[in-house]
Symmetry: C2
Subunit: 359 residues, 2 copies
């Protein structure tokens, strides 16, 4: 077992930065008082506080985080765990949004975000060791299908953890934020039935991802409410190509379909390909819906009606929930579910396709 840095970093800081002792000396107080002044100023006279403040500026004092962390056993950093083996997934704007949101939540804090990506099982072990090693005060796990094992392992360490996206395994205490995928799926069913489509099908996501399962459940519920039959369901892997293949089969078996709900915009793109390849039009012959309100939904040759979800808010919430749980350990906050909203575009307009050509 190798616990040492495989490649260590050798770097001596330029000139030695001033220590707390230097600061205290410059301010004419004791090290203790200087420390108190720096950490919120409890039990410090205004005079002493002012003297320390002045010295901080004069010396350009910056507390040594390692020393502080050594004694407080707090690191002022949290980890964002991305348990994805695939570079492709990292390309998903989803992550950018998540990172942005968390950073936003951390703004008024001096907490730093440490990025942990584990592509392989080997990495996973290392990452887990890192988290367990108390190098961070908490973690946010972006939950895709792999998250289950993480959830359990992390729960066992007692490290404050928030999941973004409901983890698959919920047999123990786990805090998460998520969007209302069930509601989103239902919204899709309501919209497509609302514009008069009656022979509806869906290209669902993988059956081992909670988001996909939930969207499908909502979709079915929505159809039932509208008094429509469940209709055909095919699964794909959230990729454009995968959805195109699935849709080809779907269309071949059910040539009379007049509405399709794809569980992601990227998949909707693939479905659109298949529809056009079958010589049909969107929305003329088949109304098409996506999910996510991804950038491509707007730029697609026929802009996609889709479901949008407040991802940034969700990420911000995850960040602030984590901070809360770190400050008050044991206070397991309730999961927060964000509602979704329909975004109408041409792909479900009743009028025939009017792609491009808009002054």
């Amino acid at each position: 077992m190798n616990t040492s840095p495989p490649r260590s970093l050798r770097h001596a800081a330029g000139r030695p930065s001033p220590t707390l002792e230097d600061l205290a000396l410059a301010a004419g107080v004791s090290r203790s008082t200087a420390s108190r002044a720096i950490n919120g100023g409890d039990r410090v006279s205004p005079a002493a506080q002012a003297a320390v403040d002045r010295a901080v500026v004069a010396l350009g004092y910056i507390p040594n985080r390692a020393a502080r962390s050594l004694v407080t056993r707090r690191t002022s950093s949290i980890a964002l765990v991305i348990p994805e083996p695939d570079v492709r997934v990292m390309m998903d704007p989803f992550f950018a949004v998540v990172i942005t949101g968390i950073t936003e939540a951390l703004r008024e804090t001096d907490v730093q975000l440490v990025l942990l990506m584990s592509r392989t099982d080997d990495d996973s072990a290392r990452t887990l060791r890192y988290l367990r090693g108390g190098h961070v005060d908490g973690a946010i796990v972006v939950s895709h299908h792999e998250a289950d094992s993480w959830a359990r392992s992390l729960a066992e360490t007692g490290l404050p953890t928030i999941f973004i996206g409901r983890p698959w395994d919920m047999t123990f205490d786990v805090t998460y934020v998520d969007t209302d995928n069930v509601g989103g799926g239902k919204l899709a069913a309501q919209h497509l039935s609302g514009i008069g489509r009656r022979r509806l099908a869906t290209v669902a996501g993988p059956a081992d991802m909670t988001a996909a399962v939930d969207r499908l459940r909502g979709w079915k519920a929505g159809l039932a409410e509208a008094g429509l039959p469940e209709g055909p369901v095919v699964h794909a892997d959230f990729t454009t190509d995968g959805a195109a293949a699935a849709a080809r089969l779907l269309l071949a078996e059910h040539p009379d379909i007049d509405g399709i709900f794809a569980a992601s915009d990227l998949m909707a793109l693939g479905v659109m390909e298949a529809i056009q390849a079958a010589g049909k039009t969107v929305p003329g012959d088949i109304a098409l819906m996506g999910y996510d309100n991804h950038a491509v939904a707007e730029t697609a040759s026929t802009p996609l009606t889709t479901i949008t979800q407040p991802m940034v808010e969700m990420a911000v919430k995850a960040g602030s929930m984590l901070l809360e749980e770190i400050e008050a350990p044991g206070s397991h906050p309730e999961p927060v579910i964000y509602s979704t909203r329909l975004v109408e575009r041409e792909s479900t307009s009743v009028a025939p396709t009017a792609s491009a050509a808009n002054a």
Copy 2:
């Protein structure tokens, strides 16, 4: 001046993790020997090494990074600085690629990536303080137009730093990796002239970004080599809407243009809009090129011919260069420039538009 954590984290680790002392006791050696065994095993007898190794496994020992860092003055973490005020930019897949690449470079290392985003000037100051504070061993700065001030400030701290994308201000020692934007611009000119277009124009990026300036320089050089006039140049801000507006003006003033090079794929999308709004077709009337090989280049209604660049490799290189410079301070490595490549798609095909409808 507030140097204190505005909101501090209070978290006590579960049960106390074993210390080096515990480890030494368990292994039957001194703390010193245990330390040596853990750090590479110099001057440690095989017997002692084995005993320590066994104890590490038995106790689940994980060295305390804070303590180590306190004495070594190394942190085993590097910062990725994203000096972008705008969330939109964060959405750029560019960042995902950069992060992926750096992570890749750090794989066999226990170096962690700390993410530093500074949206406001206020944040910039904090970020700079953080970097200066010796919390990281080095930094990678993703250079967009703001990078100038960063470059100078960081250079002054002596912190090992690598820029991704040539910084604007090069009046001092700075190490960077970049792609050959000049070559890419030239490639665009060669391709458009090569397919017989003669009345060429370009929608360039902002004049305060090196990437934009370089692409434009290459474009002009390429036109000159082909014996063509420089042609009209308009600038836009790398956004779709901005480029659309710029292109409308361009087309109004020069209705006879038969080829346009947009300095990014997103801008090319805007240009395409403007072309279609003017009642013309791509590539029938006007051949259109983008840059970046962004995902939208492929999904656009008329897929875009574009310039691709090895971004992942570039990011990996940045990471490994930083590690090198950290290990051997003062060894300012030479800048590395990656070459670009043309990707042909329909937007410059000689045949008339065949958008969609491909079995």
